[in-house]
Every structure is written in C-alpha cells, then in structure tokens.
C-alpha cells in the first residue's frame, strides 16, 4: 500500500493528505457515510408501498413529503431508518429499568451470562484437550483428525437436541445454553492451542533438552509463552462463536429471555424495530467482547515484555 496515497485526488493539500489519522480514518468514515445514505434510500424505497397503502386506506390526500416522512417513522417498517432504529435502541436500553422484561439490557445480560460461562468452560476444555493432544502421540493421531473433521460439520444444528436432551434430564436455564456455547467454541481453541503448543521449533526444544528440562518445565517455560499469541487469536474467534451459540440456543426452546428469544418474538409478531434493536445489541456485545479480549491480549503482551 505504498503508492496508495498517490491515488488520492491531487487537489488535496499534500500535508493534510498524508496525515496518518486522515489516511487511516477518512476512507472508513466516507464508506460508513455512504452506507448510511444507502440505508436511508433503501428505507424510503422499501417502506414506500407500505405507507402509500396506509394513506390510501384512510383515503386522505398526501404529498410526497408526507409520504417520505411516513417511511421514516412507520410503526412496523420493512426496514427501519437508522435514526428510528437508534432511537428505539436507546429507548429500550435506557428507557426501562435493567430488570424489566422490555429492557434490552435485561435480555442482553441473560445472553451475556450464558455466553461468558460457556466461553470459560469452552476455553478450559479446549486448552486441556490441546495439552493432552500435544503430550500424547496416540491422542494426536486418533483424536485430532476427528476434531478437524468436526469443524466441517454444522455443529450448530446440534443445539436443539442438546436443549431437548438436557431438558429431559432436568437441566434448564443457563446451563444448557452455556454447554452449547462451550461445545461450539472449544474447537477453535483446541486447534489454535495445538498449533501454538507445537510452534516452538526443534532448535528451541533441543535447547530445553540440553538443559535437561522436565516436560513440565518445557511446558511452562517454552510452550506456554510461545502459544500466547495463538491463544488470543483463537479466543477472539471463540468468543464470537460462543455468543452465536448462546443466541441460537435460545431459538428452539421458546426461551422467555435473551437476545435469541427477542429475535424469535420479533419475527413472530412482526415487530421489526424490536428485531433490529436486538440485532444491534448483539453486534454491540460482540464488538465489546472482542475488544475485551483484545485488551487482555495487550495487557498480557506488556506483562511478557513484548514490544508493540
């Protein structure tokens, strides 16, 4: 990307154009702005017939201006306008007490707790499995191919059965959802950590051997530090998958609370704005969780003395 600055129009002052902040954020800002404009246009076009029908049913005269403002504030629009969605989102986040069933914070918390619990379970399981695989040739040969194979299978399809089976043994609420999340997110962690634990090269392993290090010492002083970058890369993937797992796990059970339940209810009753706000909430949660993992990564890297 060395010649990318030269591709910008030449009428811009060169100094401003090369400013790192401008170079980095201007394209993003422009594209986001363009997307919002496209969204508004799409909202007008998609809701137009809806609003026109409503006017014609009441047999009132209408102008084009009224029509367009109607598309911006329809009660059940096909596509809510961005400001309408944002207002609804803020209202459902801040407008109710955090424990009220209409509050999005309440639903987010339900999903978030299942996500986090499942994520912790999955991380422990994934790292433990990776440790076993790294230390046992038998497991590496017999188990690892199956773990890789299971990546190609739509595991999410198993979620409803898990819910039914666990419900039949009397497990309900948080735990089944967390188990699905854990089940979904331990695969990337196992794969990533096997890669990470085996990333030290032969030279380093032989150096440890010349120091007559025990397997435990090799693990703590060589394999773990080498695996840390892989750990965080796979944790970032896993936490999103964990969130998806928790949301999908709420779908087939008819759960009363949670983002998934909110999505399902919204789609049954045609409450599009509620649907979109739930989606927005899941996006906010996903980016927040990834941000947290990123923060932890930076903290650990600083502790380990890595230079940025």
């Amino acid at each position: 990307m060395t010649n990318s600055a030269a591709a910008l129009p030449s009428w811009q002052p060169a100094a401003l154009r090369r400013h790192p902040l401008v170079e980095r954020y201007l394209p993003v800002a422009v594209i986001v702005a363009a997307l919002i404009v496209v969204w508004y246009v799409a909202a007008i076009l998609m809701n137009l017939s809806l609003v026109r029908d409503a006017f014609e049913r009441e047999e009132t005269a209408y102008t084009i201006g009224e029509l367009i403002s109607g598309t911006m504030s329809a009660e059940r629009p096909l596509l809510p306008a961005p400001h309408q969605l944002l207002a609804a989102f803020l209202d459902s986040v801040f407008g109710y007490a955090p424990t009220a069933p209409r509050s999005l914070v309440f639903h987010s918390m339900v999903t978030l707790s299942a996500t986090l619990f499942g994520f912790v379970l999955g991380a422990i399981l994934g790292i433990g499995l990776a440790l076993m695989i790294v230390h046992s040739r038998v497991l590496e040969k017999s188990l690892l191919p199956w773990i890789i194979c299971s990546q190609m299978v739509p595991i999410l399809a198993l979620a409803p059965i898990f819910i039914v089976v666990l419900g039949a043994i009397g497990l309900q609420g948080l735990l089944p959802k967390s188990i699905i999340s854990a089940y979904l997110c331990f695969f990337p962690i196992t794969i990533g950590m096997v890669k990470g634990f085996t990333s030290p090269d032969i030279m380093q392993l032989e150096l440890m051997r010349t120091w007559s290090a025990t397997p435990r010492q090799v693990l703590w002083k060589l394999r773990w530090p080498a695996a840390v970058p892989y750990l965080f890369a796979s944790l970032k993937v896993a936490i999103t998958i964990s969130l998806i797992g928790a949301i999908v796990a709420e779908l087939p059970t008819g759960a009363e609370a949670g983002i998934g339940a909110r999505l399902l209810a919204g789609s049954y009753y045609g409450q599009t704005i509620q649907l979109w706000s739930a989606l927005l909430a899941s996006a906010v949660m996903a980016s927040g969780l990834i941000g947290l993992v990123g923060l932890a990564e930076r903290g650990v890297a600083r502790q380990m003395g890595t230079r940025p």
Partner: protein, 374 residues
C-alpha cells in the same frame, strides 16, 4: 510403547474376557454365557487371540489384538439381541466391553507408535488410527445406550439412527435439495462471488480498500446469522431467504481474505508486470488473482461451513415444510430424536463432502503453491 506393559495389558484384557464366563450377564434372570454355544465360542476365541497377542509382542500383536477385539464386539452385540440382557446388562457383560476397550486401546496405541518409511504406508496408517478410534467410539455408544437401556427419546443408538436414515431416504433427499442445493449453494455462489468482486474493485481503488478492510473485519466478527428473521420477513419462507442469509454470512470472510490475497503479490512481480506494459486486466488475471488463490480458497473453505450453519439456522425461523433445519427443530419438538440424528448425519455428510470438494478444487488449482509441492 513398552513391550512389557503391552503384554500385561493384553493378559488383563484376557482375564476380563474370561470373567464374563462366571459373572452374571444381566440383572434379570437369563442364560449364562456357558449356555450359549455360539457366543461362548466367540468370547473364548477373542480371549485366545488376546493371549496370543500377549505372547508374540508388538508389531504382530496389533493384528491379533484387533481380531480379538472384533470377535468380542460381535459377541457383545449378539448378547444385546437378547431382550433379557439389553437394558439390564450386569457385571459380566460390562467386563467383556471393558476387555474389548482395553484390547482395542492397546492396539491403537501400538499402531500409533509404529514408524514406517514409505509415504504410502504412513498415509494408510494415518487413516487407520482415527478410523479405528471412530469405529470404537460408535461401538461404545451403541453398547452403552443399549446395555444401560437409555430411553430412545434421550439418546438413540447409532444403529437406530442409521436404520431411520435408511428408511426415510425420500424425506432426507427432499430436505437436502431444499436446504443444500437451493439455499446453501445459491447463497454461497452469490456471497462468495460478490465478496470477490468487491475485493477486486477495492484493489483497483485503494481508497475503497482502506475503508472496506476495517469494516469487513468488523462485520465478519458479528453474529450475522441473527439477520435470519429479517431475511425471512423480506424474502418469504422459501429458499430465497435462506440464500440471502448464506450470501450475507459468506460475503465478509471472502471480502477480507480476497483483499489480503490481492495484495499478496510481491513488488518484484508487480514491477515486472509494469515493465511488460500489462494493463490492469492483464495483471489482474495473470498476477493478482493467481497469487490470491490460496487466500480465496481459505475463504471458500471457511464459508463452506458457515453457509450450511447459516441456512440451517435460518430455517429455524420458518420454512415451507421441508429442509434440514426445519426437520431438526420439529422432530426435536416431537421427541423423535432418531430422526434428528439422521438429519444431523445428513448435514455432517453434506458439510464434509462440500468441504472436501472445495479442498480438492484447491489442490487442483493451487498445485504450484509451496504447501502442496512438499
């Protein structure tokens, strides 16, 4: 593997097998093993094979031990045909299973420790170990479910799921066409194609690229399957809504990977293309796209899994009355768990075949890449 430990293990397995002769097979009143000549012969020959395996030592013990384990498996499955054993199996039966488990585990361990020279025999060995392991897991599942009498609404035995699979092939076929051929393949083609096209545009106009890359990374980390109910609302219950979800879910991984791939061509090569006076189209088809192939195939492989998941989840929000996701959610609601497992087997086979085809195509088109030349 330590030969003495191997020998001891096989002797313990033999002892376990023989214990079944004296211990009760079932908590209910049933004929003992001594009164069933065929099964008795099988059990005894399995025990004899284990003894032989203990005597001959490592490489030859593998075949003998596996034959013994196979004989034990047949004997225990034959025992489960008896209604007085199935569902109420007792110590004697479980000792047979334990002995088989020990014998099979020893064989797999010894097999994993075998070192071969030739690439062909190594590849065969790399296939054999996981296959044996998988077959044994299925055997354990079958024996545990039937021996303990787990109610079929909780967990069907693999044989029941397989029988259900075989008897409901027309339904499964219709579901496959609805979900996979219509929803997944069409959406996959649209999503990957659009992702690649936008990436090519972004490579042509770097300003666009610098704006799209962070956004693409952001969007590909979002739980995009949540968009499914909206797509169902927009495009109806039939396959277009599933294809739309699949297209959206597959778009961003392709965009991000293809963008990375298109900038993978080295400076030397770019300069060479320029010195040949190659136009944009020529350098795209002759340099940038071939160099991006490994990245594009990486995205295609990631998307193969994502697409199937997207289509199945989208079907939870409403379908015409067929489709893998629809069948899974309704049959799970009706407690017909064997049908659910049959559908899952279908999804698993479809997913692996899809992934395998993409991987084969990758091998055929990127044979020049260092990772395949070795």
């Amino acid at each position: 593997m330590n030969p003495r430990r191997l020998r001891l293990g096989f002797l313990v397995a033999t002892a376990g097998m023989l214990l079944a002769l004296v211990l009760p097979l079932s908590t209910e009143a049933t004929a003992s093993l001594l009164a069933r000549p065929v099964i008795l012969a099988m059990t005894l020959s399995a025990a004899a094979l284990f003894v032989l395996a203990a005597l001959v030592g490592a490489p030859r013990a593998i075949g003998l031990g596996l034959a013994g384990a196979l004989g034990g498996c047949v004997a225990s499955l034959a025992l489960l045909q008896d209604a007085t054993v199935a569902g109420s199996a007792a110590k004697g039966f479980w000792f047979i299973v334990l002995a088989i488990w020990l014998g099979a585990a020893l064989c797999v361990m010894a097999l994993a420790a075998v070192r071969t020279r030739g690439t062909k025999s190594r590849r065969a060995l790399d296939m054999a170990v996981p296959l044996l392991f998988g077959a044994f897991v299925f055997y354990l599942w079958e024996v545990l479910v039937r021996g303990l009498g787990v109610p079929p609404v909780l967990m069907p035995s693999p044989s029941a799921a397989a029988a259900r699979f075989a008897t409901s092939l027309p339904i499964l076929g219709a579901d496959f066409v609805q979900t996979f051929i219509k929803g997944v393949l069409i959406g996959y083609a649209i999503g990957c194609g659009a992702g690649l096209a936008v990436a090519i545009l972004a490579q042509r106009f770097p300003f666009l690229g610098r704006g799209l890359l962070p956004l693409g990374n952001f969007f590909s980390a979002l739980p995009l399957v949540g968009i499914a109910p909206i797509m169902v609302m927009w495009f109806g219950f039939d396959w277009p809504s599933k294809a739309a979800v699949v297209a959206l879910v597959t778009f961003f991984p392709m965009l991000v990977n293809a963008l990375a791939g298109l900038s993978a061509a080295g400076h030397m090569e770019r300069d060479l293309m320029r010195s040949y006076g190659a136009g944009h189209r020529q350098s795209l088809t002759k340099l940038y796209l071939p160099a991006a192939m490994p990245f594009i195939f990486n995205a295609l492989k990631i998307n193969a899994t994502l697409a199937l998941i997207g289509a199945i989840v989208a079907e939870f929000f409403g379908t015409p009355t067929q489709g893998i996701g629809f069948r899974i959610s309704t049959e799970a609601g009706r407690m017909a768990i064997d049908m659910v497992w049959a559908e899952i087997a279908l999804a698993a086979i479809a997913g692996m075949a899809f992934y395998g085809l993409v991987a084969l195509a990758e091998r055929a088109t990127t044979f020049w890449h260092p990772s395949y030349r070795a």
